[in-house]
């Protein structure tokens, strides 16, 4: 398994938000992660990233326990996180964005995705390489944020609402790229998303949370038949 989350309990000061959350993610598989606002999706992702420390439970990446490591150490091992907005450096050009992240992470070991690879995988970025990220549209910025996450040796990408503010055709295009690239490089992804149909279409796996607990964990086909949609 790429990522294993075992009986995770976490939250903020004096307030537990998620209890006993467990799931597994196979290499190259995409997990759609649903639940209403406050269900604990963001808290789960932030605990995997390391922005929050768990009260109880464990997080394992490629057979290594990572839940006590600081954020940069987890990034070095292949965790990537895309915030729902501001996932790029607005005052840098597309090329500078990629270049600075690539060079600061150049010491990592493992199979590498370089700036040139990202530019060839995401032709939209190639076309705008000299543009300042802050001047680009939401969709282009989201594409760049995804490109930044691909640099180095990503193992598991956590995507927080990547479709926010994007037009429907752009969402399809972005999700298509995510599916294609994740499969090709055996990268796993967790996709927190409000656009349920689009997210389900590219996922192998669905996790639904309610009130801080997992209420459904299974393949998309089974999720469609389940009665958990009443939460939305």
């Amino acid at each position: 398994m790429t990522l294993e989350v075992r009986k995770l309990t976490a939250g903020y000061r004096n307030k537990i938000v998620i209890t006993d959350v467990s799931f597994e993610l196979a290499p190259g598989s995409i997990m759609a992660f649903f639940g209403h606002n406050g269900a604990g999706k963001s808290t789960t992702l932030k605990t995997i990233l390391g922005a929050l420390s768990p009260v109880e439970g464990e997080v394992w990446l490629d057979g290594e326990r990572i839940d006590r490591l600081p954020i940069p150490e987890r990034i070095a091992r292949g965790i990537r996180y895309l915030p729902d907005s501001r996932g790029v450096f607005p005052d840098l050009t597309v090329e500078e964005n990629l270049d600075v992240v690539a060079r600061m992470n150049a010491a990592d070991s493992g199979a590498r995705i370089a700036v040139a690879d990202v530019l060839s995988m995401l032709p939209l970025l190639e076309a705008r390489r000299g543009s300042y990220a802050g001047t680009m549209s939401g969709g282009q910025q989201q594409m760049l944020a995804f490109g930044l996450a691909l640099l180095g040796s990503p193992r598991c990408i956590l995507l927080e609402e990547p479709s926010v503010g994007l037009q429907p055709d752009l969402v399809e295009m972005l999700f298509g790229e995510i599916r294609r690239i994740c499969a090709k490089h055996a990268i796993s992804a967790i996709l927190v998303e409000h656009k349920i149909a689009s997210a389900m279409a590219i996922s192998d796996h669905v996790l639904i949370m309610n009130n801080g607990a997992v209420v459904f964990d299974g393949p998309p086909a089974k999720a469609r038949e389940s009665n958990f949609w009443e939460f939305f």
């Binding site: 990034i75 450096f89 005052d91 840098l92 964005n97 802050g134």
Partner: protein, 286 residues
Amino acid sequence: MLFLQLLVDGLVSGCAIGLVAVSFSLYYSTTRVFHVAHAGIYTLGGYLAWYGAMQGIPFAIACALAVAGAAFAGAVIQRFLYDELERREATPLVMLIASLGALAVLQNGVAMLFTPNILQFPNPWRTRMLDLGIASVSYAQVLVAASGLAAFGALMWMSRRTLLGRRIRAVASNPFLAEITRLGPRSVYLAVMAIASAMAALSGIMVGLDQAMQPYTGVLVLLTATIAVIAGGIGSLTGAFVVAVALSVLQNVALILMPGRWSIAATFALFVVFILVKPEGLFRKR
């Protein structure tokens, strides 16, 4: 001609104030800490160089040592004051009061170590004059202008062309992303503080060489510099430098109309009107 002479003098001292403005702006836009103790670093630089010069060390070497010393002092403030406060989740008000404390410590530390009185550099060549035809400038003034422009140019080059420059701009524009992409925001803050302190110290040394030094004048310089930073548009290094030079020219040329002791009041009045009319600054950030 008086007007041209004042214009040239204004341009020259504008380069020094511009250096303070640019370095303050660099630090502020990267860390969002309003570093009033920057005025103390400016003062410290001048006094360290003066001390070196008094020991008979060649001016260039005294200058380099003083700049390094000031950069180190800045790094100490960053590491042991601002970083600590941030770790304790201090509010901006608490940061500001601590910075004010650091300013008082630096200024009065300098006053106690050296002297609270007015000082002049011992180097005799500093007052030698150079005739430019339209106006004449001292050797010291030449150094003020040259060092100001060179340091500004070097900073712009560093910011655009080097990895550190890109890291600084990246951290300034998105600190959270910088953290999760391993750009090392902490070490960037430290580097920015050292660079900004070195620049402020250079300016303090050159102004001290050209005119004279007193431990408490740094605040007035910083006030003019921060006015330039805000009027130039926060985050725009070029804006800060250009407005600082313009303000200095204005202050000097206005000497024809009014005595110099009112120039800070006039500058400040201009600033108050300015922020009411155009709070986003002249040079809009991209």
